[in-house]
Structures are given as C-alpha cells and as structure tokens.
C-alpha cells in the first residue's frame, strides 16, 4: 500500500512543479502577449480577455506537454482567440447596422480603427511628432493579420522560423514570405524611423 501513496506524492509534486514552471513561462510572455493582442484588437479589455483565455487553455489542456512546446502553443491559442474576437466584432457590427430600432446616435460611437490617424500621406514625417511607438503600432494594426502575426512573433517575441510556423499553423516558407512582406510594408509606411 505504500507504493501508491509514494506515487501519489510524486505525482502531486510533479504537478506542483509543472504549475511553477508554467507560472514562470506565463509571467515571461504575458506582457508581450498583451501588447500583441492590444495591437490587433485595439482595445484594452478585449486584449486582456484574449490573453487570459489563452493562459487558461494552455494551463488546462497543454500543461502536460513539454515546456519547449508551450510558447508556440500559447501564441497559436492567442492568435485563434484574437481572430474569434475580431470575427465576432465584425458580425456584431453587421447585425447592429441592420437593427431597425438602433438609435441614430450609435453611429457616432468612435471606432478605434477608424479613429486612428490616416498615415497614407507619409507616416515617416509624423513619427517624431506622435511617437515612434504609436506610429509603429498603428502601422502594424494596418497590416494583414498573417503578416502582423509573423512580424510580432519573429520580431518582438523572438521566435525562430520553425517556432513561428508552429504558432501560426503554416509552413516555414509561408512565415518567411509573411515576414518579408510585413517588413516591406512597415518600412514603406515608416521609413527608417528614429526611436
């Protein structure tokens, strides 16, 4: 009877160790993950919700996977969650537009994306005035989602091509293409901006 007890203790200790390891991992990535979600969703609470959901899913479903797999898994969950929220937002907008009893004033609610400054004439000239970070984030928000994902995962999170491909659920070649195009598009908008 002693053996199962010992095994139970070992299992419990192992779970505690996994939890501690997972805590360290999440503490390391949570701020960058939040910035990524914030850039994509342009909404503080939505970004926090997306990160929290990704944390929960990773802890519930994938905690027993090797720690080396957590990072791409976590960002894959996060990107899926971001896409879900963007889709839901789009559907909600369409439904609201069809409602006959919708108040006229609702049209006046500011849309954060629409409210963002139009950088088409030349964002580079405005960089110093509005802040390099705001300019960069605005330009990132205007990228196609896959390009933005590739750029942020490679550039901010520091994932290599294979890890980024795992996180995005695509091939290494696609990651390189998305990243290259993202850099081109950002440079076209921002130029060699100063920090």
């Amino acid at each position: 009877m002693a053996l199962p007890y010992c095994e139970g203790l070992a299992l419990s200790a192992s779970k505690d160790e996994i939890r501690r390891e997972l805590n360290r991992f999440l503490a390391d990535v949570e701020r960058r993950a939040y910035r990524m979600a914030r850039i994509a969703l342009r909404h503080d609470d939505d970004a926090l919700d997306a990160v929290q959901d990704a944390m929960l899913q990773l802890a519930r479903r994938y905690a027993d996977r090797p720690a080396a797999e957590w990072r791409p898994l976590f960002y894959r969950i996060l990107e899926n969650r971001i896409r879900d929220m963007q889709r839901r937002r789009m559907v909600r907008g369409k439904v609201m537009a069809l409602l006959p009893w919708r108040r006229d004033g609702e049209d006046d609610l500011p849309d954060p994306v629409a409210e963002a400054p139009d950088h088409a004439p030349g964002l580079a000239e405005q960089v110093d005035g509005m802040g390099a970070l705001v300019a960069l984030e605005t330009a990132l928000a205007r990228l196609p989602p896959r390009q933005r994902e590739a750029f942020l995962l490679r550039n901010m999170e520091g994932l290599d091509v294979a890890q980024t491909a795992a996180a995005m659920g695509c091939s290494d070649g696609s990651v390189k293409t998305h990243y290259f195009r993202a850099v081109q598009a950002l440079q076209a908008q921002l130029g060699e901006f100063r920090t």
Partner: protein
Amino acid sequence: MNMNNQGGEFERRAAELLRASAGGLDGATRSRLARARAAALEPASRTRSWLDFRYLAPAGATVAAVLATVLIVGPGRQSTPVNDATGSALYDMELLADADAFDIAQESDLEFIEWAAAQGEQDGTGG
C-alpha cells in the same frame, strides 16, 4: 531575442520599441495580467463552477428556448377555433357514442317508431 536573421536596422529598432512597450506596461494592466495568470493556474476544481456557468449558461438558455417553443406551438396546444368540419365530426362521434340512439337503431318495430314520430309532429302542430 533571436537577431541572427534579423540584421536590418529597421527590425532592430522595431524590436526595441515593442519590447520596451511590453516592459513598460502600467501597474493596473500588470496587476490584471498577474490575476489572470493566477486564475489560469488554479486547480481546475476551483474554477470549475466559473467555467460551468460560462459554458453551460448559453446551453441552458438554448434548451429552455427550445422547450418553450415546443410547449407553445406543439401539437398538444391547438389554439385555433374549431371549424365546421371539425364540429360536424364531433357531432357524429357524439351520436355514435349515444347509447339511446344505438338502441333505437336496433329496434325491429320500425312501424311503431314511425307512428310515434308522426304523433309527435301532430302534437307539435296541433297543440
């Protein structure tokens, strides 16, 4: 940060800016992130009720809506008025179920019945 294949100055500056922005989050956001992390790492049993409510509430609402629909428009709740055809059918059923009518039909002395009917008509007109 893996900078081996990110030699461009642009990428380096972008990475610096983005990482600095992540590191410089305000205290309120950092606190909310820490709380979210703690909640995610709680044993499943402690957060089960929250998860249950979150995912079961919409399912429960859907089931309730379907049940209400069935109860309102189901076959057992015919609320339309009875039309003539339905009334006539009910009347026929009533006649068939009437024991007296059945007894009369079984009566062999039809002449007596005809006489009784004729007497009744005479009483009605002559009286």
